[in-house]
Symmetry: C2
Subunit: 279 residues, 2 copies
């Protein structure tokens, strides 16, 4: 296994570390970051929150801007943040910010030229946790969270794999991608014109049909510029009502799509996950 440490910073008594590794699933070298709380230094395994970032982000945005280390250190939770797409000179890309690199949308692409590398769904579900659980004192008690495109990814991964995640949360998720410009563009490229295949990556469709439940928390800012056209939390809410899904969805007056919103409410999310990871 070809894993390289890229950096290491002490943070709130624990350690923030960045790694590169060759991903068999994605056919390229990938980067991820992990925050190991002080409790992991004893060698005891700690539970892990997987964090999926939004469009244009890397492994760094959440680690630097969310203010999450403080609470993770208190609660004894590791945080694992992958990059948002495959990377490298031979990876297909697009000049737009919302397709290609930085915009993997956490799906397994089926269409050329994307299908050779863009398999972020499998990477986050399987390869990354296997690697993390083999390298670090991190247990298989997993929760998952994310922002915007990453909120979509977290919801879809949890909704399709209720046995793998104890809890799921999202900030400002793309709630119904088959029905918004970002989702239509990405799914059309990665999954093709047959929209039937899109449903398995749509949180609102999956939640409406759900029979196995992962406790879910969603926060949404009401001053978010993307709220009406791209995010559509009301459709996720309607889907949860239909299936009786345990979704708590909160709206917050004045908050936008930025990391200032995430930082303002991340403590609540981490405590929510800690409550489920401890069971």
């Amino acid at each position: 296994m070809n894993v390289e440490n890229l950096g290491c910073n002490k943070s709130f008594g624990g350690w923030h570390k960045q790694y590169s590794h060759y991903s068999e699933v994605l056919n390229c070298t990938m980067r991820f970051a992990i925050y190991l709380p002080p409790q992991a230094s004893s060698g005891d395994k700690v539970p892990a929150l997987y964090w999926l970032s939004g469009l244009t982000c890397t492994d760094e945005n959440f680690m630097q801007k969310a203010g999450a280390h403080r609470i993770a250190a208190e609660l004894g939770i590791a945080i694992i943040a992958p990059d948002t797409s495959p990377r490298g000179d031979d990876v297909a890309d697009d000049e737009d910010y919302d397709l290609g690199k930085g915009a993997g949308f956490y799906v397994n692409a089926t269409q050329a030229p994307w299908s050779r590398h863009y398999r972020m769904y499998d990477y986050v579900l399987n390869e990354l946790p296997e690697l993390a659980e083999s390298m670090f004192p991190v247990s298989d008690q997993r929760s998952i969270s994310g922002h915007s495109m990453g909120g979509h990814g977290a919801l879809v991964l949890a909704l399709r794999n209720s046995e793998r995640y104890r809890s799921v949360s999202a900030f400002s998720p793309i709630s119904n991608p088959v029905n918004c410009p970002w989702g239509k563009k990405a799914f059309g490229a990665y999954l093709g014109k047959d929209t039937a295949s899109w449903a398995e990556y749509d949180a609102s469709i999956l939640m409406r049909e759900a029979t196995a439940f992962v406790p879910a928390l969603v926060d949404q800012g009401e001053a978010d510029d993307f709220l009406e056209e791209q995010l559509k939390p009301e459709l996720l809410e309607a889907a949860a009502k239909r299936s009786g899904y345990p979704l708590e969805l909160n709206r917050h007056e004045g908050f936008d799509h930025s990391y200032y919103f995430i930082a303002s409410f991340i403590e609540r999310h981490l405590r929510f996950h800690a409550g489920h990871l401890a069971r």
Copy 2:
């Protein structure tokens, strides 16, 4: 007064705002950021912490990465973060990261070509607080803090203007710039070859001679790559001992020069300043 709002984000119930304005002192358009805690929304004046960033930074680094809004919101303190140098196409620059734009060193340059714009000392001491106190519900109860080059700037401003600041703190400051490569290079360019004029911008020299005291808190990571060659906190400590200066200087095992260090200890700094601002 030509002031333009560039952006506005709700954060922990308060507001992060960015502005540009024409600076008469610096002869160019400048940017700064302010965090207004929820207590400022009532119109009551709140005290202000001025934050000076390090080399290559802008008004954004501290606001995004320090996790300070949470505590400022609790304590009712505004945070005001200027850019680290004059900016603009007609502002003198250097190809190195540690001279010119992003590296103003909080001095008033006396040497061409720098003296036309590089007057960050006067800007932070006078023009910026005058602007902030006229625009926002911010009082003239001021404290000052900073990181690295900004830690140097904060210490120098407080040491030379004990009547203007209630307290001062610094993370990893350049403690004795007349005696380290960063300082010698910048002071040589901005202030000229006559090293006698450098002393008024050297925290260790000023602290050794001090007769008026501003309570001072300094934190330094022991795994900081710049510790021995550039930062030299032991010289600040020796100076404080000589003059009986009220300096608390703490060293922290394993912490480096990054914002992860700042985030880990910013709460302590804000509570320190709040204690002095409340008097």
